[in-house]
Symmetry: C2
Subunit: 508 residues, 2 copies
């Protein structure tokens, strides 16, 4: 039956208002049930086992051949649509696979998935209590609990869900400058002598990118040196603050990182906070990656002093493995978000509603319409309890440590950082042709070419996905990232073996 | 069986890598199947009929009583989780209901929903081809097709999916200033004399809000007068541009609106474009709401001249009824997005990959991790074809016109704008106590109180949801919004009757 009938026939028969274009419930219900079977059988469970591929690699032109991506004037049939679903899944990377350890997110949690599916079925936009009553209260509850875990008394403060950690780090810039210089809201940054931000040279690129977007400019995002473990050098921070002041600029914000993107380093919050107090600067902690460690009594000391921060970015979709996307921006201060961003649009935030309009929280955001990212995380939290997250996090650290100690001793592996702090482990894999060539003049030039070659092999085989990158003066190295607690020590051996299998005979 | 076993038992048994915390597939599969049944039966179809309620109104404190929103240390059972799902659905507003006509989004499309569910199951983040091959190509295809519909030859140009129309309008600011003043990227807005933006006083609040966020300041977002139909007054635009130049400011952007938020007015693009050419300004068209009319040969003339724009915001989740959230930012220019935003993070956008890295498009965005919002829309487009969207849009306009003509003649209704251009219709409902009191001194003061009272009744009964707002000097009026093409003329009569039933005896 052609799918267009839902639109065409709507003028003849319309019993049911649920769907924009429903003619007969039975027809749509049949499609939905078949589609859901396909989703559960072939997507959620069908790609699950360790013996399946992480990716069915195909070049762009081959995918375009395999899937008819072009849209058409006329409709596709339900059969065709089901085939599209299967093909989209087939050629997509299996980010749920245990051997997808390529990014700071992975896995599909069953409760997170169902929470997401429920959100989709309810199709909310979260700006007023009137339109999203449950989601509004749920956000309030989850954000308060997260603030409480950060260490702010009674979970006081404020917070929002954001479309990603980058934008959360942008909110930190916006809140900090509004807090110190509220006149910027009306006058723009022209109102204040050149504003400057400080963050580590190893911080995520988003602080600089958002500084550009927000009119501050990349030159005014000053990068502080990191030490050999990747942690911010506090002496260099103070030196650079003084240099900026002497140059007539206006320091207002330090963004410290808890879990840097590449090395997983945790900047020392307590001394950074002391500097911020001394110079009256806003302290933002970007714990997008490392924030999940706060759920573990054993590992939360990595973030010692986080309660001294003015604001925190924490993405549950990273270390806590919530589905994409689940990012939060948390503040110690109660009214800064609203003061910085509110525009009091009368068409949406009417003050003469019959209920307490302090529940209409949308004006704190720069978004207007906004997806609800809270339910999936709340549902996971309900399903596992805080204890469940704690066990999850401790499993990740245990696996990472096991992998670290394994490759530390294994031939062909060389660590980039001797003691990584988070669950990402960085290493070079040295193929046979390069072993004991370290003193040759072109050694690093050759080593630089190894990772891309191994990566190509691994993707084409689909046996795992691990990312690589250069960093500063260091040539390409691998970074394996653990946030899937279904992995165990045997998997750690698998990864090491697989590097050997794919890489030992590489010739560069 | 307690849900925590997925975490606890993972150390004992781990056959299957799909889920972060899977112990036995059968147990999770059982939960997922029961949850899916609940979703399909009780959420998707169970809330569908016109006789169900749009909302089960409860005050915040009552919802907190009804749903245990607090997270706990320990896990909930699967039974408890299923009960939570039912309760979350019960107390959430039924935005899929035909009588939810409260916002610029509504309805649940069956194909959009399945597209969204498939996206969730695949859990992608769209920044590199390597990690999101299908989604990357699908975005490219859909954005090209949308540009082609806008009217740019061969769909040339560039574009991105954004987390909402507000941020899309922010991208317009960013692209425009980068295009004219590329030095801002490094130096910040300090590099250029005070930048100013022009938009209509009836434009969406996001342009001003983003101007604040982006360091330009609300005073430098200059509001142009609208005429009696809500369309930008082009003479006033030119006057204000000249005033700004005389005051030493730097005009660089005009944001024109196609489908204003409250009145649904379409600013006249051709004359605005002429002004932009004359003064060398970027023309952005915010067609977040009205863009869907481009799919209809009958109604696309409302956006005449849109191909003259430098950039366009168009949200398929509005008039085209894609699920939340589906927003696009489209440009005629090919490289501006990249020049304005790229930061070339080496850890993510490696240039020595084995495939053509021009497919790694994430650096054009200010987001790093990013949900895939394309698949649901692509899947709807496949299911309906362009013809299906055209019929959908024409149905909406037909319904809106029918409702307009009906209330134009009906006692108790008074139109705010005689000839609204889009599918939102604005009116006052005049209760009996106010009829023929128009000359009394406190008439408007009393009329202002009517809409909140009717709104309270309608929400408490759950019989429909229609929003109200004041605007400028005008007291509170209703705005009914049509984007659900399952509605028909009988529904239009229902709405009018319902206003009469709820409102005629209101005493103010």
């Amino acid at each position: 039956m052609p799918a267009d009938s839902n639109i065409v026939a709507v003028e003849e028969k319309k019993e049911d208002g649920l769907f924009q274009s429903l003619t007969e419930r039975s027809k749509h219900e049949d499609f939905i049930r078949r589609a859901v079977d396909l989703l559960v059988e072939r997507v959620v469970f069908g790609r699950a086992s360790r013996t399946s591929k992480v990716v069915e690699w195909s070049a762009p032109e081959d995918i375009k051949q395999a899937i008819d991506l072009k849209v058409r004037d006329g409709p596709a049939s339900h059969e065709e649509l089901l085939a599209f679903m299967a093909d989209v899944a087939r050629y997509s990377v299996n980010t749920a696979h245990p051997y997808f350890v390529n990014q700071l997110f992975s896995s599909v949690d069953p409760y997170g998935l169902i929470g997401q599916w429920l959100t989709d079925a309810l199709n909310p936009s979260v700006y007023t209590f009137e339109v999203a009553p449950v989601f509004t209260l749920m956000e309030e509850e989850v954000l308060r609990e997260m603030r409480s875990i950060v260490g702010w008394a009674d979970g006081e403060g404020d917070g929002i869900f954001c479309p990603g950690g980058s934008i959360a780090n942008g909110y930190a810039i916006s809140c900090a400058r509004s807090y110190f210089y509220p006149e910027i809201k009306n006058k723009g940054v022209y109102a204040v002598p050149k504003l400057v931000i400080f963050t580590s040279e190893l911080a995520h690129y988003s602080t600089k990118k958002m500084a550009v977007f927000m009119g501050i400019g990349s030159d005014n995002c000053i990068l502080v040196k990191a030490d050999e473990n990747g942690r911010m050098d506090v002496n260099d921070l103070e030196r650079k603050i003084n240099e900026a002041i002497e140059a007539g600029a206006t320091p207002f914000l330090v963004t410290s990182t808890s879990g840097t993107t590449v090395y997983g380093a945790f900047d020392p919050i307590v001394p950074i906070s002391n500097i911020c107090k001394k110079y009256n600067l806003w302290l933002h902690v970007d714990a997008a990656w490392g924030g999940g460690a706060l759920m573990s009594r054993k590992h939360r000391n990595l973030l010692n002093g986080i309660e001294l921060a003015d604001s925190v970015t924490w993405n549950p979709h990273k270390l806590l493995a919530a589905p994409q996307q689940c990012s939060t921006f948390l503040l110690k201060h109660k009214n800064v978000l609203k003061e910085a961003h509110s525009s009091n649009a009368q068409y949406l935030f009417q003050k003469d509603k019959f209920y307490d309009t302090s529940y209409d929280t949308g004006d704190k955001h720069i978004q207007c319409g906004r997806r609800a990212d809270v339910l999936k995380f709340w549902f996971m939290w309900k399903a596992k309890g805080s204890e469940g997250f704690e066990k999850h996090v401790e499993k990740l650290f245990d696996n990472a440590n096991y992998f670290l100690e394994h490759i530390r001793q294994r031939e062909g592996f060389r660590l980039v950082i001797p003691k990584p702090e988070c669950t990402n482990i960085m290493f070079w894999y040295i193929p046979k042709c390069l072993r004991s060539c370290e003193n040759e003049p072109n050694y690093y030039e050759r080593l630089h070419k190894v990772a891309p070659k191994i990566k190509e092999r691994m993707i084409k085989e689909g046996s795992m996905m691990v990312t690589y990158q250069p960093q500063g003066n260091l040539v390409n190295f691998f970074r394996i990232v653990f946030q899937n607690s279904a992995l165990d020590h045997k998997d750690m051996i698998y990864f090491a073996n697989e590097f050997e299998r794919l890489g030992s005979d590489i010739v560069v």
